[in-house]
Protein backbone atom coordinates (compact mmCIF):
# COMPACT_ATOMS: atom_id res chain seq x y z
CA UNK A 1 0.00 0.00 0.00
CA UNK A 2 1.45 3.34 -0.98
CA UNK A 3 1.76 6.07 1.60
CA UNK A 4 1.10 8.87 -0.82
CA UNK A 5 -1.93 9.27 -2.97
CA UNK A 6 -1.11 11.21 -6.12
CA UNK A 7 -3.15 12.50 -9.01
CA UNK A 8 -2.16 10.79 -12.25
CA UNK A 9 -3.39 11.95 -15.65
CA UNK A 10 -2.87 9.83 -18.75
CA UNK A 11 -2.92 12.08 -21.80
CA UNK A 12 -4.00 10.35 -25.01
CA UNK A 13 -3.35 12.25 -28.24
CA UNK A 14 -2.96 9.51 -30.85
CA UNK A 15 -5.47 7.64 -33.02
CA UNK A 16 -5.86 4.02 -31.90
CA UNK A 17 -4.86 1.49 -34.56
CA UNK A 18 -2.06 3.00 -36.70
CA UNK A 19 0.60 3.09 -33.98
CA UNK A 20 1.32 1.43 -30.66
CA UNK A 21 0.81 4.51 -28.46
CA UNK A 22 -2.86 3.98 -27.57
CA UNK A 23 -2.52 0.30 -26.71
CA UNK A 24 0.60 1.01 -24.62
CA UNK A 25 -1.29 3.72 -22.76
CA UNK A 26 -4.22 1.50 -21.84
CA UNK A 27 -1.86 -1.22 -20.66
CA UNK A 28 -0.03 1.22 -18.40
CA UNK A 29 -3.36 2.52 -17.10
CA UNK A 30 -4.31 -1.03 -16.13
CA UNK A 31 -0.99 -1.56 -14.38
CA UNK A 32 -1.20 1.79 -12.63
CA UNK A 33 -4.74 1.09 -11.48
CA UNK A 34 -3.35 -1.56 -9.14
CA UNK A 35 -1.51 1.09 -7.11
CA UNK A 36 -4.52 2.92 -5.71
CA UNK A 37 -3.71 6.36 -7.04
CA UNK A 38 -6.18 8.94 -8.29
CA UNK A 39 -6.20 8.14 -11.99
CA UNK A 40 -7.96 10.00 -14.75
CA UNK A 41 -7.62 9.95 -18.53
CA UNK A 42 -7.60 12.81 -21.01
CA UNK A 43 -8.46 12.49 -24.69
CA UNK A 44 -7.49 15.28 -27.05
CA UNK A 45 -6.35 15.75 -30.64
CA UNK A 46 -6.51 12.36 -32.47
CA UNK A 47 -6.77 10.65 -29.07
CA UNK A 48 -10.53 11.17 -29.16
CA UNK A 49 -10.72 8.45 -31.84
CA UNK A 50 -9.67 5.90 -29.19
CA UNK A 51 -13.11 6.04 -27.58
CA UNK A 52 -15.12 6.25 -30.80
CA UNK A 53 -18.16 4.02 -31.02
CA UNK A 54 -18.21 0.98 -33.33
CA UNK A 55 -14.51 0.09 -33.57
CA UNK A 56 -13.93 -3.39 -34.99
CA UNK A 57 -10.38 -4.56 -35.74
CA UNK A 58 -11.26 -8.07 -36.87
CA UNK A 59 -10.21 -7.51 -40.46
CA UNK A 60 -6.88 -5.89 -39.63
CA UNK A 61 -5.95 -8.69 -37.23
CA UNK A 62 -5.08 -6.52 -34.22
CA UNK A 63 -6.43 -6.44 -30.70
CA UNK A 64 -9.56 -4.35 -30.32
CA UNK A 65 -8.70 -2.68 -27.04
CA UNK A 66 -11.47 -0.09 -27.22
CA UNK A 67 -13.70 -2.18 -25.01
CA UNK A 68 -11.11 -2.06 -22.23
CA UNK A 69 -12.08 1.56 -21.67
CA UNK A 70 -15.55 0.38 -20.70
CA UNK A 71 -14.05 -1.87 -18.02
CA UNK A 72 -11.88 0.79 -16.40
CA UNK A 73 -14.63 1.71 -13.97
CA UNK A 74 -14.05 -1.66 -12.30
CA UNK A 75 -10.51 -0.45 -11.58
CA UNK A 76 -11.74 2.81 -10.04
CA UNK A 77 -10.83 4.81 -13.11
CA UNK A 78 -13.90 6.98 -13.17
CA UNK A 79 -12.97 10.12 -15.02
CA UNK A 80 -12.24 10.53 -18.70
CA UNK A 81 -11.87 14.11 -19.84
CA UNK A 82 -12.63 14.64 -23.52
CA UNK A 83 -11.76 17.92 -25.20
CA UNK A 84 -14.70 19.53 -27.00
CA UNK A 85 -12.58 21.34 -29.59
CA UNK A 86 -10.80 18.12 -30.57
CA UNK A 87 -14.15 16.44 -31.21
CA UNK A 88 -15.51 19.38 -33.18
CA UNK A 89 -12.38 19.68 -35.37
CA UNK A 90 -12.93 16.05 -36.39
CA UNK A 91 -16.65 16.36 -37.08
CA UNK A 92 -17.50 14.33 -33.98
CA UNK A 93 -19.76 14.90 -31.03
CA UNK A 94 -20.40 13.01 -27.83
CA UNK A 95 -22.93 10.72 -29.56
CA UNK A 96 -20.06 9.32 -31.64
CA UNK A 97 -18.29 8.12 -28.48
CA UNK A 98 -18.78 4.88 -26.60
CA UNK A 99 -20.91 4.94 -23.51
CA UNK A 100 -18.49 4.50 -20.64
CA UNK A 101 -19.84 4.23 -17.11
CA UNK A 102 -18.73 3.37 -13.60
CA UNK A 103 -20.36 2.46 -10.32
CA UNK A 104 -19.79 4.03 -6.92
CA UNK A 105 -20.86 2.83 -3.49
CA UNK A 106 -24.02 4.89 -3.87
CA UNK A 107 -24.94 4.67 -7.53
CA UNK A 108 -24.58 2.61 -10.69
CA UNK A 109 -23.90 3.45 -14.31
CA UNK A 110 -22.61 6.97 -13.78
CA UNK A 111 -21.08 8.50 -16.92
CA UNK A 112 -17.26 8.50 -16.93
CA UNK A 113 -16.84 10.85 -19.89
CA UNK A 114 -16.65 14.53 -19.03
CA UNK A 115 -16.59 17.00 -21.90
CA UNK A 116 -14.29 19.93 -21.20
CA UNK A 117 -13.12 22.82 -23.33
CA UNK A 118 -9.48 23.51 -24.10
CA UNK A 119 -9.03 26.04 -21.30
CA UNK A 120 -10.53 23.63 -18.76
CA UNK A 121 -8.24 20.87 -20.06
CA UNK A 122 -5.22 23.11 -19.47
CA UNK A 123 -6.35 23.71 -15.89
CA UNK A 124 -6.94 19.98 -15.33
CA UNK A 125 -3.40 19.26 -16.53
CA UNK A 126 -2.03 21.93 -14.21
CA UNK A 127 -3.77 20.25 -11.26
CA UNK A 128 -1.91 16.93 -11.58
CA UNK A 129 1.01 15.49 -9.68
CA UNK A 130 2.06 13.27 -12.58
CA UNK A 131 1.25 13.42 -16.30
CA UNK A 132 1.94 10.44 -18.54
CA UNK A 133 1.72 11.25 -22.23
CA UNK A 134 0.95 8.96 -25.15
Amino acid sequence: MSKTNKKFLYVNRKAPHGSIYALEAIEVVLIGAAFEQQVSLAFLDDGVYQIARGQNTKQIGTKNFANIFKALGDYDVRTMYVEKESLAERGLDVSDLMEITHDTDDAEDLPSIQLVDRAEMARIMADQDVILSY
Binding site: M125, Q128, I131
Partner: protein
Protein backbone atom coordinates in the same frame (compact mmCIF):
# COMPACT_ATOMS: atom_id res chain seq x y z
CA UNK B 1 3.02 25.35 -9.60
CA UNK B 2 4.17 25.42 -13.15
CA UNK B 3 4.61 22.80 -15.83
CA UNK B 4 7.57 22.08 -18.09
CA UNK B 5 6.24 21.14 -21.51
CA UNK B 6 8.58 19.26 -23.83
CA UNK B 7 7.92 18.98 -27.57
CA UNK B 8 9.93 16.42 -29.54
CA UNK B 9 8.20 16.40 -32.94
CA UNK B 10 8.49 18.77 -35.88
CA UNK B 11 5.57 21.23 -36.03
CA UNK B 12 5.42 20.55 -39.78
CA UNK B 13 4.81 16.84 -39.21
CA UNK B 14 2.07 16.98 -36.57
CA UNK B 15 0.30 19.44 -34.29
CA UNK B 16 2.24 18.67 -31.10
CA UNK B 17 3.64 22.19 -30.73
CA UNK B 18 0.28 23.80 -31.57
CA UNK B 19 -1.46 21.65 -29.00
CA UNK B 20 1.23 22.33 -26.42
CA UNK B 21 0.96 26.09 -26.89
CA UNK B 22 -2.84 25.86 -26.67
CA UNK B 23 -2.61 24.14 -23.26
CA UNK B 24 0.24 26.19 -21.82
CA UNK B 25 -0.61 28.35 -18.81
CA UNK B 26 1.14 31.57 -17.75
CA UNK B 27 4.40 30.77 -15.95
CA UNK B 28 4.89 27.44 -17.71
CA UNK B 29 7.99 26.67 -19.78
CA UNK B 30 8.28 25.05 -23.20
CA UNK B 31 11.41 23.11 -24.13
CA UNK B 32 11.92 22.05 -27.73
CA UNK B 33 13.95 18.84 -28.05
CA UNK B 34 14.80 16.33 -30.80
CA UNK B 35 12.83 17.23 -33.98
CA UNK B 36 10.88 19.75 -31.93
CA UNK B 37 13.79 22.19 -32.30
CA UNK B 38 12.87 22.58 -35.99
CA UNK B 39 9.98 24.78 -34.88
CA UNK B 40 12.35 27.38 -33.45
CA UNK B 41 13.63 28.69 -36.77
CA UNK B 42 12.94 32.36 -37.36
CA UNK B 43 10.72 32.99 -40.38
CA UNK B 44 9.19 29.52 -40.26
CA UNK B 45 5.44 28.96 -40.14
CA UNK B 46 5.70 27.99 -36.48
CA UNK B 47 7.60 31.10 -35.39
CA UNK B 48 4.47 33.12 -34.66
CA UNK B 49 3.16 30.38 -32.36
CA UNK B 50 6.32 30.64 -30.29
CA UNK B 51 6.34 34.45 -30.29
CA UNK B 52 2.74 34.40 -29.00
CA UNK B 53 3.61 31.76 -26.40
CA UNK B 54 6.51 33.85 -25.14
CA UNK B 55 4.05 36.51 -23.96
CA UNK B 56 3.20 34.18 -21.05
CA UNK B 57 5.78 31.39 -21.08
CA UNK B 58 9.50 30.95 -21.39
CA UNK B 59 10.70 28.99 -24.45
CA UNK B 60 13.90 26.95 -24.52
CA UNK B 61 15.73 24.87 -27.12
CA UNK B 62 18.02 21.98 -26.30
CA UNK B 63 21.30 23.10 -27.88
CA UNK B 64 22.75 19.71 -28.82
CA UNK B 65 19.59 18.85 -30.76
CA UNK B 66 19.62 22.22 -32.54
CA UNK B 67 23.32 21.93 -33.40
CA UNK B 68 22.81 18.41 -34.71
CA UNK B 69 20.22 19.80 -37.11
CA UNK B 70 22.35 22.72 -38.25
CA UNK B 71 20.35 25.39 -36.49
CA UNK B 72 22.53 28.15 -35.08
CA UNK B 73 21.25 30.33 -32.19
CA UNK B 74 21.02 33.37 -34.50
CA UNK B 75 18.65 31.44 -36.78
CA UNK B 76 16.11 31.07 -34.01
CA UNK B 77 13.15 33.18 -33.01
CA UNK B 78 14.40 36.03 -30.82
CA UNK B 79 13.90 35.41 -27.12
CA UNK B 80 14.34 31.65 -27.21
CA UNK B 81 17.01 30.50 -24.79
CA UNK B 82 19.38 27.68 -25.73
CA UNK B 83 20.24 25.28 -22.93
CA UNK B 84 22.44 22.19 -22.54
CA UNK B 85 21.65 18.85 -20.88
CA UNK B 86 22.37 20.23 -17.41
CA UNK B 87 19.93 23.03 -18.14
CA UNK B 88 17.32 20.42 -19.06
CA UNK B 89 17.80 18.78 -15.66
CA UNK B 90 17.50 22.15 -13.92
CA UNK B 91 14.26 22.92 -15.73
CA UNK B 92 12.85 19.53 -14.77
CA UNK B 93 13.56 20.04 -11.07
CA UNK B 94 12.32 23.64 -11.09
CA UNK B 95 8.84 22.74 -12.34
CA UNK B 96 6.24 20.72 -10.48
CA UNK B 97 5.53 18.39 -13.39
CA UNK B 98 6.69 17.63 -16.90
CA UNK B 99 4.36 17.01 -19.78
CA UNK B 100 5.59 15.50 -23.06
CA UNK B 101 3.87 16.48 -26.27
CA UNK B 102 4.70 13.59 -28.59
Amino acid sequence: MSTLHTVNKSPFDRPSLASCVAHCLPGDSILLIEDGVLGARNGSASAKMLVDAMANCKVYVLGPDATARGMAPDAMVTGIETIDYNGFVELAVNHKRTQSWL
